[in-house]
Symmetry: C2
Subunit: 138 residues, 2 copies
DNA sequence: CTTCAAATTGTAATCAATACAAAACGCAAA
DNA sequence: TTTGCGTTTTGTATTGATTACAATTTGAAG
């Protein structure tokens, strides 16, 4: 049972495994689309009868504090969320708006951090055009 | 005369050099503090009699389009701006809140961009603790 | 079953950023 | 210098994501 496992993961990180938190966590682990809080709200509202927008924010913040998910600040106007907590970069296509993951080794990332500073988290963002949209650009 | 030079730079980039735009541009070139729009507004309001908040946003967006300044999305709740358009990374200290610049070679940055993608802009963000705040952390 | 702290909910509030229309500006032609 | 017109500035109103808060509900422990 997937939810059983997720509940166990939450408990192991000191987060009480409520239905809502499990649903949000599950959504982020199965959808690699870097959704916004509102996107998650709309998706979960269809499955569950009542699901408050505030609870989505609460759950996301709780999961963030437990470091079970990550926030992606590649957009200026809204936050995006990512269930993938391994080191990786993000690429946003200006044509289609899609946000892609790409690999970055932890060593590579550490090597970028300036000496004397203690980096707890590193992010690499690119903005441009993805392979699918490139051909249509002249 | 500094403002003469700034006006020329704006004109060369197709931006009409108004007093307000020059003042915003000048502020970003002389203050390497990655200020928010509101910080710029408060600072300039003291020097100039009238200076609308909206004009700050307009000027910033105009300068951004002309690629004379850059936006820094290292914070989730507000945008920061940077007069330094050369390739460099940003480090935000969780203790003092300061945002530091650090060097990253253009080649290094290009090397991070996944193959097949055309990256127009790259950003490297770190969050952690700066050398000044590290000693006070046990 | 009872209890009590923690989680959820809905509404109201906050705050950065934008839309919009009127007024002011600035350059170019006469 | 004056006129005309497109651009810029300004202030207010609005949007939209996120948070504050207080009442209600939940869920685990005794």
């Amino acid at each position: 049972m997937v939810n059983q496992n997720l509940a166990a993961v939450l408990s192991a990180h000191g987060v009480r495994p409520t239905q809502q938190r499990i649903a949000v966590f599950d959504y982020l682990l199965t959808h690699h689309t870097h959704p916004s809080a509102d996107t998650i709200y709309n998706a979960l509202s269809k499955e569950y009868p009542v699901f408050s927008r505030t609870t989505i924010y609460n759950s996301l913040n709780t999961l963030l504090e437990a470091k079970l998910i990550r926030a992606v600040n590649i957009l200026a106007d809204e936050q995006r969320f990512d269930g993938n907590t391994k080191d990786h970069g993000h690429f946003r296509c200006l044509s289609c708006g899609e946000i892609y993951d790409f690999d970055i080794s932890g060593d590579m990332l550490q090597g970028l951090c300036p000496s004397g500073f203690l980096g707890e988290q590193g992010d690499v963002f690119f903005t441009g055009h993805c392979p699918r949209c490139l051909p249509s650009k002249s």
